[in-house]
Amino acid sequence: MKQRLFGFLVVVGSALGACSSHQQDSAPAIRIRWERDPENLNPLILPNENSLEAANLLYSSLLAVDPGKQQFVPSLAEALPTVEQTDSLTLLTYRIRAAAVWDNGRPVLARDVAFTLKVMNCPGLPIETNQAQWGFIRDIRLDPADPRRFTLVCAGRSPEYRWSSGDYIILPEYPLDPQGQLRPFSLAALRADTAGNQRNPAISAFVGRYTQAQLDHHPERLPGSGPYTLEAWAPGQYVTFKRKPKWWADTLHSDLLPLQARPLTLDYQIIPDEATAVLALRRGDVDVYPMMPAKEFQRLRRDSGNKSSLQFHTTESYKMITACFNTRYAALQDRLTRQALSHLFDIPALIQATQLGMAYPSVGLINPTAGHLYNDSLALPTYDLVKATALLKKAGWQRKPTGGWARRGVDGTTQQLTLTLSYRTGDPAFETIALQLRAAAGRLGIVIRPQPLEASLFWEKLRSGSVQMYLFTVTGNPFVYNFAPILHSKSIGAGNFTGFGTPTSDRLIEAIAAEEQEGHQAELLRRFQRLMHEEKPLTVLFFLRSRLAASSRLTTLQVTSLRPGYTATAIQTKAVK
């Protein structure tokens, strides 16, 4: 009996030993926690932030964001494009770096860019998002004298084209279309003929080859010009990338972050549950935990036992929580009511309760850290029930003796001030905000019913305009100020869920998007913030601070306000003393 027990202990002991040695073997890898699987690594689809991050390791773009500088910098391109404008077109000329080569040593050429654009418009492939995002690129003109130079012909004018015209993954032509079967087709022809793959055998053959490659789960079948290759991918468990021994950008010795790749192995571990992820970080099973929940972040940071093993970073972000009003709803059609309701949010208390202080208020959609672009002459939203009452009365609302508020509408009907606040379920911050608003409104006799909704149902209601008030996360960026998708009247139903839009606001939004001079754009932005401050189609409650916890063995994390909040390719491990 004792021998059997001993045998059992030996087996268990060797198992434990085997497992712990596995941990030691994987020590050089940088292990990063992801909440969800990237799901699809087809460069044409990339359905979530994680797939985008993974794709940027495997492939390169003409331009890339340098998180350190917070601006677009040349990646495959030699420099930012030169811009030339005609009456209705913008011409952007790029030249690809001489050093840029594919894995087989072939140079990356302008015809690869042309091929990429054609793939992005090829009927029969999953190109819907690409067509919508880069539909402004109408044509590409290759320079006959220089195989690396080309000009993109873009419809209309926008300062944004300078960056967005180069912010997509460049695909190699040689493995996907070795015979150049797509070359004879123009971009316009491919875009116009939505059934071209059924009519034309060359397109059909190409679509067949592309589909057969199953790039969704086998990106290794398409050699990219990025610094890493996919080593292993177990869906729902982990994705591992290995540094190429020789990457074309190594020869440049550039100080630009997109042209550096330091870790030899990047190991993304998919851990959906936050508590398990915290435990994994504390055990040393993962090295980087981005966007850690505020409560856990604060708890770990305050625990002196973690000081030697973990490091904590916070930085401003472009992610903001907003309370939005559906201006098509009769009771919310006038700005005074919206202003009154905005005074019911106790923002400092909400920041403390939901983010433990790791957020900051703003007068509007511009980040307060944006310097002269931020209109600091406007007052921050205040929690003021007296002011809210006065504004409601000014808007024609009268408090009924039985409680509640009512007014006579334009059409003679009586309107009641009872509202539903919809939000996506699952985020405790939204729950807290909804409860605070309900309590504050209740003190004035206004009935506000919180309505948590499952994510897809929430989207459905937003799109159909059947919400009254809703909580929403909006993400900005430091490069482009284009408010058209969320506030232009043309976007109502397609992204502008507030239903707001006046000729003045539309003109201002268009002017901001088209303005190239920074000084003038700042002036327009300040005017826009004032307009939104008065009209209040939405109230920015606060901008979140990005939170990141990491193992103290790491250095050069390049914690950034841009998603995902760190630069995986820049991370290094500290030298062992």
């Binding site: 995002q133 969704d216 177990a234 571990q269 055990r283 929403f472 909006v474 998708p485």
Partner: protein, 355 residues
């Protein structure tokens, strides 16, 4: 066997078809917008802003590619203008509709392709099952063995019953996530005992032997397995124990004792077989859960599996995967019912005679 199987199949297959059809029609009817375009829809300021027309065109193309542009069913109501006002009329669409396409493919063994990653649903479901089954089957075997052993122990050492049954009742009252977190914080926590991995499955490595891989895989499964066993154990033990106590008081048990049989033989040879009869249905009910996975355990221990697959497919409206996974679970449920019936008949032939 034919007499046994056919009536049951005739009852259960239409029920399965009905369940799947209702789920198909409800899920598709609820969705007017396809997932997959949220990254270009109104959640961000600037950055490749697609125009509303471009977004609508993209939506149209996506719906077409996924076959969502077809009518939902053979007949659908549609508003028709009459002389006085609008009226609802039923429109016949023939076989060119979403339901027919889905049913036709299903009958040909084609579960379609995932909306999220374009993979074959059969492959996705098989992959999830490959992760789920080792865990759930081990848990199933564990539950049955431990229950059997514990019930016999309680029958032979009755003084243990109050304490053990009280403990089991407390355990039964705890939700699965509490038990899982408790085990995680107790046995995978550097502050207490870091004996087991906190999450994931064993990674296959080429330089290790088959045996080492197996042991290592088992090591990763300890905590999830323990969570499932601890949560499912109490109800089975309490049920079998109660039945066994009842049988031990029956006349035939008294007769066996009077014949001089030792108590352990009275329990094993006489009482237990009868006491297990009611447990057959309970155990058979666990079979569909083997296939459906354990979503809570899969989420907490970051393991892929059917539970997570179902939850993620539902959240992202990946209808082909959702329906494919549900089809497999419905089939498992039917199979479990048939197996339960057969086991009941096998254990007690009088049931068939009565039927």
């Amino acid at each position: 066997m034919r007499r046994f199987l056919f009536p049951r199949l005739a009852r259960t297959l239409p029920a399965a078809w009905g369940i799947l059809s209702v789920i198909f029609l409800l899920s598709r009817a609820l969705s007017s917008a396809p997932e997959g375009l949220t990254n270009i829809q109104g959640a961000s300021i600037g950055g490749h802003a697609a125009t509303p027309d471009q977004i609508r065109a993209a939506e149209r193309l996506l719906r077409k590619r996924r076959g969502l542009d077809l009518p939902l069913f053979y007949i659908t109501p549609a508003a028709t203008a009459t002389k006085q006002a609008l009226a609802w009329r039923w429109h016949w669409h023939g076989t060119h509709n979403q339901y027919h396409t889905w049913l036709y493919s299903l009958l040909h063994g084609d579960l379609g392709r995932s909306f999220r990653d374009e993979q074959s649903v059969s492959m996705v479901v098989l992959r999830a099952l490959a992760s789920t089954l080792p865990l759930t089957c081990s848990a199933f075997v564990g539950i049955v063995i431990v229950s059997y052993w514990l019930t016999l122990l309680l029958a032979r050492h009755r003084w243990l019953r109050p304490a053990v049954l009280a403990g089991l009742t407390v355990l039964h009252a705890l939700p699965l996530f509490v038990v899982a977190f408790f085990l995680l914080l107790l046995l995978a926590n550097p502050d207490v005992l870091a004996l087991f991995p906190a999450y994931g499955l064993n990674r296959p490595e080429s330089d290790t032997s088959w045996g080492e891989q197996l042991i290592s895989s088992a090591y990763y499964l300890v905590l999830p397995l323990l969570s499932l066993v601890l949560v499912s154990l109490p109800s089975l033990v309490v049920q079998v124990d109660s039945a066994l106590q009842h049988e031990l008081k029956a006349n035939y048990s008294l007769t066996a004792r009077a014949k001089g049989l030792p108590e352990r033989l009275v329990i094993r040879r006489h009482a237990l077989r009868n006491a297990l009869l009611p447990a057959i249905s309970y155990v058979a009910d666990l079979l569909p859960a083997l296939v459906a996975g354990a979503i809570v355990v899969e989420l907490i221990f970051a393991m892929p599996g059917m539970g997570r697959l179902l939850a993620e497919a539902a959240a992202s409206r990946d209808f082909p995967v959702l329906l494919g996974a549900i089809s497999v679970i419905v089939l498992a449920r039917l199979l479990a019912q048939i197996v339960a019936d057969w086991l009941q008949v096998w254990a007690n032939p009088r049931i068939e005679a009565q039927a």
